[in-house]
Symmetry: C2
């Protein structure tokens, strides 16, 4: 019987691992709760009406249809037994493994204030994205029907918590919606009156980027009408209002729509794995793995992607980015192939090709390490890379078509409010 | 103050009416529960993974953005006061009118068995379509994980109730999914083992078409592996099983996925309107209107589209089809313009250009009255007309791209199971 590799999670890490094993003498089982892979970096475009969920998703079975040594199981892994070498699914089924790779990523984290989750949705799944899209568009609809100025003011205030790449992308896109896309569409108010605020705990937007690029991003945000509050913390979220503490003191900001882009926490499977293997978790719940990405003492149990705590050469933990996850997936695949051939592989090393963030139309920042730039060239690079890495040629074609269309018309064509009856109240 | 026209419902009837009033000296208010128009004839393609909801939806505000005399209100009309000349929204707001046009269409109808609705979803809204898509795809996923043959057999049986155009389109598309699209994607079974059944109360499929075309459609369905039970009635639906009474007696068919395409009933606003105007309703709850499409005794209150009961020259009620709704919308717009100019307009007359239904790839039937044909030419005509009538150039481009792609690859790219955790059970 061939060596059985079980992979949990079909994100960037897991899917790249499975594909890199296509010619290996192994049986691969990919287990995911969802039947599709999501291209997470474009989720914010679904949340702001630019793309459909289907454009950035690819059915896992379809991606792996020609890989005869791989099968896909739809299910949720709830337990891992490292001694018996099997994982258990929610419905009780057990799947045995010779090598296990856990790549279940991260979920949103409200720093102990989980009651904020329904008031300030975060952007991790396609359901999150369509929910956020509905809230943003429904807020403009309420503004059209508002009688009191205060009611309209609250409806037209959008507050994004966190100024990392996701927060900046969301705030920039809402700024564009209000300033351009919706311009002619309302009769009772001018959408340009909308206020988009970002609240960031640190001293600048895009804190992981060099300071010069943070300043460029802040200028692009200002051009889109986005106000940034730095060194500021959200202390309370209530329906219709957010309390913010900044250096000048604490204030209450009336805002109907609050979006959370402030923190992530490792998937709960990390703790499950720690319990059975004795692995350590870091403060965010990520599993501390060795330089071979295996759990210490368990050479056949790997953790990759956002769930793994891995240090770079300087001793800093690697960030939760798609390139890290993809490289780790390919590394572990290679490690498995080598081991089956009785050979070893040097420790994992992340080849940092840089980081990118987009703020809006023709505005982005790129930090390639050896070269740092912003504006149109950074945006063009961003477009090119995102189209290139998108899974599935049809998705690339559809996204390209819509981007071209959106660029020339300023429109965003995917503006469905789900279950409007509920969203509107009344 | 200009003449105030209030239109309730932004489907084919309402939207065509509003656009036909663009140069009229009136103020138009379009009220809809949803912020978008849906191109209903393609909903079945969303339900079977071929298109995204955004591809067949257009934001009402966007469609009307350049029409200065029109505004859009997102809201649900719950009451009509014909004497006071106003409609009331769910949240208590009142909107006054000089002329009222009600075009809220039809909803699904389970012939008094509303407890069947959750067991056998019907296809009316985009939420219905994504729910049906999830159920169909999740059934194949359960088959992959099934241990017992009976369990797999139930998961792989799809039963469609009703063999009108929607039922035929759904059954044909499921047949294609099983027979072609999913062919290489499962490891534990061959998707071609799936069974697709249609249960039709009448003696043939597509009962509104000429007999010769019904036979052609039945042959196309048979080629896709769809079994048709005619003169058969569903007497009970339970989770996992359907009881069917046919001439040979009553049998229980194990089927996990049951889809309802058997009956529609007019929107409840018809009854609301009848109460305030004294109008009569037909058996399906449609409002009986005069030859001018106005409610008898209320020359300023019109009902159009699927909610209206209108007789053709032969004395038969007009069918609930998009061309009927569009022509009625344009007729009432003309009538309003004429009346404001002090002129009259002859009674509404439906120009029947024929009917079309598609069964699958290169298979359709067309009845143009003077010409009846099936197969590839009918399918090409179907494609052309549906692309042409789709609202929004971007939608046309996206749908065309996906159709071309799906045709050449046999793929259906939009295969997301929503909330898979729940769908799977366990």
């Amino acid at each position: 019987m061939p060596h059985r590799v079980v992979v949990v999670g079909g994100g960037f890490a897991g899917l790249n691992l499975v594909r890199a094993l296509r010619r290996a003498p192994v049986d691969v089982t990919l287990i995911d709760r969802r039947n599709f892979h999501v291209f997470q970096p474009l989720l914010y475009q679904v949340a702001t009406g630019g793309l459909s969920p289907g454009d950035i998703a690819a059915a896992l079975r379809w991606v792996l249809r020609r890989q005869a040594n791989a099968r896909v199981l739809l299910g949720e892994v709830t337990a891992v037994d490292a001694a018996q070498r099997l994982v258990r699914l929610g419905d009780g089924d057990a799947v045995p493994f010779d090598t296990l790779v856990v790549a279940t990523g991260a979920a949103n984290h409200y720093f102990g204030r989980s009651e904020w989750a329904p008031l300030a949705p975060a952007l991790k799944t396609v359901e999150d994205a369509t929910e956020i899209r509905s809230r943003i568009l429904a807020a403009f609809e309420r503004a059209e029907r508002a009688v009191e100025p205060a009611q309209r003011h609250g409806a037209l205030t959008f507050l994004v918590v966190g100024a990392g790449p996701t927060g900046v992308e969301l705030a920039g896109a809402i700024g564009e919606l209000a300033g351009h896309t919706l311009r002619r569409e309302f009769r009772a108010f001018d959408p340009r009156a909308a206020r988009v605020l970002m609240v960031e705990g640190g001293p600048r937007v895009l804190p992981t980027f060099p300071e010069r690029l943070s300043r460029a991003a802040a200028r692009s945000l200002a051009r889109l009408g986005v106000e940034v509050l730095t060194d500021a913390f959200v202390t309370e979220i209530r329906p219709g209002a957010v309390r913010v503490r900044a250096s000048q003191g604490e204030t209450t900001i009336p805002a109907d729509t609050v979006l959370w882009a402030a923190g992530v926490r490792a998937s709960p499977l990390g703790a499950v794995l720690a319990a059975t293997t004795g692995a350590d978790l870091d403060r965010s719940g990520r599993v501390m793995v060795g330089p071979d990405l295996a759990v210490p003492g368990h050479a056949d149990v790997f953790v990759i992607g956002d769930l793994a705590h891995v240090l770079d050469e300087a001793g800093n933990p690697l960030p939760g980015l798609a390139p890290v996850a993809m490289q780790q997936g390919r590394y572990v695949a290679k490690r498995i192939r080598r081991r089956l051939a009785g050979r070893d592989l040097p420790a994992f090393r992340y080849h940092n090709k840089g980081q990118l963030a987009t703020i809006g139309r023709a505005a982005a920042v790129a930090d390639l390490g050896w070269l740092r730039f912003s504006g149109f060239p950074a945006w063009a690079l961003w477009l090119f890379l995102h189209l290139m890495y998108l899974v599935g040629f049809e998705n690339r074609l559809l996204v390209f078509t819509q981007w071209a269309w959106n660029y020339f018309t300023w429109n965003r064509g995917t503006r469905l409010i789900a279950h409007a009856e509920k969203t509107l109240g009344g």
